[in-house]
Symmetry: C2
Subunit: 652 residues, 2 copies
């Protein structure tokens, strides 16, 4: 397949397309982050690193970006979309800062805002925003990570206030950010017990440390110790030995207890209330997805710059050394990943926009599901992409100075925190099946069983009219449609989703039979369910890319979208062939088209990564900044009895 040359696009124009609706936030964040640079953490102990990150947090608080989402009456700008975009930009910097910011302003602050009422807001929001009140979000327990509904910490009403208790070791709070060093107040998730009756999981404010930082009586905190990465974040374990808090400590928007011990809630049913409260997690997941996207972009920028410069082996005819990015295998490692980063970028922006514009009382389920899915698909993309970039840089990619090791180590946990990706995809699958709500209480959060399914319907989330037109324009004879036809891509993605979902629904219907072991039915179909979720998210991502191109047509972005769509299809070729969707000739043509698109986009690889506009001070890797040969700090040269001085010799 030959693809005509694609006209080059000025980098600035591409950047403008990517910057989108919150361009001003991105621009300011870039300027600010370029000025500050990356904190120099190379030779620090863990405690020193944590102190540096705390100072970065103070400075961040002063900048106002991370808190721009809070209400103006407390000093924010009431701009949740801007706030999420700011978090995304933090992904270009030190990721410990990003994660600690997420804990403080996303989870801790977000929970006070979303689950608390005016008294809590008045008492804590300003201090939380300014970092005068560093806090923790104590949800996860060591015995119940993803299964939040079954956590075991208790908050028992004793007639006056609540007693917070850790009943056994499995109930200790685990991996809690801001716990080991800084947290003064925690949002603690516990089973609420009033007059012997259980009301499900609720959140309460529990002080952890006094003004001087001493841990308070009844609270025990242990350091989680060194981690693979993110060592600037002070994760800890917390036990509560019957800690008493006043009645007002309960974040009571969705559940309150009167002075006389009567429980009230605007939401009936523990399960529904629980999921409403969990809705506060949506911003955390969107933030992680965004920051993961930024980290992948930075890794790609480093690897593409290196791949443009690095040569290996000679051309058999000319004898000239070949730039490694000219090799198909190298392009295959980087360019489909780059195209996917573009696709996820637009999906992320669309999701942020959708949340920003969502009316307060709107149904948030679609968006919660989308956030869970994009977080899962996006963080896995980051893990794979950073790994590919590391390998594409060979030994140079293994040196800390070249940043990839740190990006890799810091982002690794993204796939399992803020919701384990596998569990999140199950959540998405469950959301896709109708009729699941009836069973959610008794059947557990990760299991989904339905006794009736309606035919699944593809609900388009973006550019609905355009997509309708594109799909309708495709001739019915798939086999002959141009492989670069966008309508065909969408049709293929939609058809895949619909078929996977329909067949999943059919398999799970068996569980309605009371004689079957519901778990067996679910478990046998688990990989099927995960696929359903993934292909659903893939379709949403493609739609977002298509919508972005519709807003600002660009032949180059069109090519990038082609590569995203076809590389995604190629990864599922076994499915398309196995379900009679493609002939073998068509399947071969898909692989040929991916190769051709790699060749066609190869000349634009640099523009595509430079368009991310990541400041050089944040890229920081010597292999990506000028000559690989001039990266030497004279201080590290150990022997120099030869003819030149070390500094000179290095520069010769």
């Amino acid at each position: 397949m030959d693809i005509p040359d694609t006209p080059a696009v000025p980098v600035e124009a591409l950047t403008a397309l990517l910057d989108g609706r919150w361009a001003h936030i991105r621009e300011e964040a870039r300027k600010r982050m370029a000025e500050r640079g990356l904190p120099d953490t190379a030779d620090l102990t863990t405690e020193q690193y944590r102190a540096v990150v705390f100072e970065e947090m103070r400075a961040l608080a002063e900048s106002g970006y991370p808190t721009t989402g809070f209400a103006p009456e407390y000093g924010g700008a009431g701009d949740p979309g801007g706030s999420l975009t700011a978090f995304e930009m933090l992904g270009f910097g030190d990721l410990s800062v990003m994660v600690k910011a997420g804990v403080q302003w996303g989870l801790f602050g977000g929970a006070i805002e979303a689950l608390g009422t005016k008294a809590h807001h008045d008492a804590h929001l300003r201090a939380m925003m300014s970092m005068d009140l560093p806090g923790s979000y104590a949800m996860t327990e060591v015995g119940h990570g993803s299964d939040v509904q079954n956590l075991r910490t208790t908050a028992t009403f004793d007639g006056d206030g609540f007693v917070i208790s850790t009943p056994d070791e499995s109930a200790r709070k685990e991996y809690i950010g801001n716990a080991a060093r800084d947290g003064k107040l925690a949002v603690v998730f516990a089973q609420l017990i009033v007059g012997g009756e259980r009301h499900g999981v609720h959140a309460l404010l529990v002080p952890l440390r006094d003004e001087d930082g001493a841990v308070l009586p009844g609270v025990r905190i242990e350091d989680c110790g060194p981690k693979a990465g993110l060592n600037g974040v002070d994760n800890g374990r917390i036990w509560f030995d019957d800690v008493r808090v006043p009645r007002g400590a309960l974040l009571d928007r969705y559940g309150s207890v009167d002075a006389d011990g009567t429980y009230h809630s605007p939401i009936e049913g523990d399960g529904k209330r629980f999921f409403t409260m969990l809705g506060t997690l949506i911003r955390g997941r969107i933030s992680v997805a965004g920051a993961a996207g930024s980290a992948a972009k930075k890794a790609l920028a480093i690897a593409v710059r290196y791949g443009e410069r690095r040569t290996q082996f000679e051309h058999p005819d000319t004898g000239a050394e070949i730039v490694v990015l000219d090799y198909l295998a190298h392009q295959r490692k980087l360019l489909p990943a780059l195209a996917t980063s573009y696709a996820l970028h637009f999906a992320q922006e669309e999701m942020v926009s959708a949340l920003h514009d969502l009316p307060e009382d709107a149904d948030r389920r679609e968006l919660e599901s989308r956030a869970a899915g994009i977080k899962a698909v996006g963080t896995w993309h980051t893990t794979r992409t950073v790994q590919a970039c590391r390998e594409a840089c060979g030994g140079a990619g293994y040196l800390m100075e070249n940043q990839l090791p740190r990006i890799k180590a810091d982002t690794d946990v993204f796939t399992t925190f803020e919701g384990d990706n596998t569990v999140l995809l199950q959540l998405v699958a469950k959301g896709l099946l109708t009729g699941y709500q009836q069973h959610i209480g008794e059947r557990g959060m990760a299991l989904f069983i339905a006794d009736q399914f309606v035919e699944t319907v593809i609900e388009r989330t973006a550019a609905r009219g355009l997509i309708e037109r594109l799909v309708n324009a495709v001739t019915p004879r798939d086999e002959e449609t141009d492989l670069l036809d966008r309508g065909w891509h969408i049709k293929v993605f939609e058809d895949r989703e619909k078929h996977v979902l329909d067949t999943l629904a059919r398999r799970l219907r068996r569980a309605a039979d009371p004689d079957t072991d519901a778990f067996e039915v679910f478990n046998d179909a688990q990989d099927h369910a995960l696929r359903a979720a993934r292909v659903h998210i893939d379709r949403i991502v493609l739609e977002a890319f298509v919508a972005a191109i519709e807003r600002a047509p660009s032949p180059l972005l069109n090519r990038v979208c082609d590569l995203y769509a076809l590389a995604n299809i190629e990864q599922d070729l076994d499915w398309f062939l196995g379900h009679g969707r493609f002939t073998t000739a068509r399947a071969k043509a898909v692989t040929g088209a991916v190769n051709a698109l790699c060749r066609a986009l190869r000349p634009h690889a640099s523009s595509l990564v430079e368009a991310f506009a990541i400041p050089d001070r944040l890229i920081a890797a010597p292999i990506a900044l000028g000559d690989n040969h001039t990266t030497v700090s004279a201080a590290r040269v150990m022997g120099s009895h030869g003819k030149g001085e070390s500094g000179k010799a290095v520069a010769r």
Copy 2:
């Protein structure tokens, strides 16, 4: 698909099967390593860590294992297979020690033995073995990593000795182990120039440091600085500013220079000589493959033990919490990887055996190619598996105390050092095509062009008679053959290899036409070539597994082999469907069989990892040693004003 229960096998019996020919070496290594435990490196600076590793090396040298491969007249045991097995066992320990041992005894010592002659052996082997003479293997240059043939350091005969020079920055030696701190002598690879004539790459002994450890005049060494992992190894950069060495410094087994300046070599042709000398790399690659295999086994042992204990979510009918390894998705993450680890184990042992038994003057090309391929396939398996294990342990897998982060960081570079995996697979592909030798000189190491191809022939490497019988017993109607029929598996693997190779040969034939751009032809087929290499290695690995079961029949190992074979086939379903090998029904049945095998092997998962017999002191991860809840060191508890003392409270 229902698979009948497989009888359990005592762990000791499985261990005996795995231990194989060098069981005594494995047993002794286990005993020794269990006694020493892992060095405690948690709070060390890089320099301290290096010092600890150096002491471990001294102790290792005293144990005699790593040097058992050298000739008895120098204090070895003349047991190369035993030596390679000892390296494999080092993979269960601290990997900095393993890599430093590989540099010292594998590369540095191995080069002196293989490329030098008696004078070099007499002068250096004993001191090298005892660690009195720490040394470096200075091959890689920053500008020419994989392209060794084009490295630029020169060794110019000046009538009396050689002058070693680094002509420009791209020729600086890079990532050289033992260089930054310890190395006293280096085997330096350089372009040999005698009387103005170039004779290609040769190796010379060049002193780096004096007795006191001071870097010698003319040598400059710089520390590579912190790395993603392996920070106990002192990697450095080296420049030579016209360093003079005597004529005897040339390791002259394959090329020597007379006092009068006449060059002699027993091998005609620079290219052929070069590849003969590169043959010394084979042991390094086998060692890395072995140690990578051990690291993956250790990660699997940790993840399976955790997966057996960890619960998540409740059974919808019983309400009991479900052990995570009971989930299909969890089994899918771990069990096919475990089966592949078994397969690679037997392939590794067979390769070690083959090298051990190879007559001195035999053609080593098949084995060199196999070592390159198994190193590539095996180290990628390790990277993927350790990642899967990390994710399967959730947040716990991210804590350093649980070892997975270190295994991950330390093994990450295995995919690109001792030969970049992509380059190695190309080497394998080249080896599979006949007639390539003629062009190797002028066309470069990574490119392969042939002007004539014979029909490819599958050469079986193991259990030839048995495999012949198994394949012949398969009925011609594939579709109806039992999916667990071993002969069918082999047939499928062989057919895939043959077809991929035949079509690759046909594509590359076009390059013989002088009007084509040979590079374009090669580059367009690069992914095809990489696939050819991979499926070739996959087939060799399957044969090795089959041969091992033939030596010691075991129903359980048979099931493990089924899972290896079918999971491997499943990964290539797109290929099998796309090439008309499977019907869609057959493809679906393959996926069903993989799921069924996961279920069938689930009860044996523990036995299968315990059979690796990794001492608990090396597993070390609290999540894999007894209760996850009793991992607390009192020293790290920061607040304990509550009712219990910290120690007691933790154990309650």
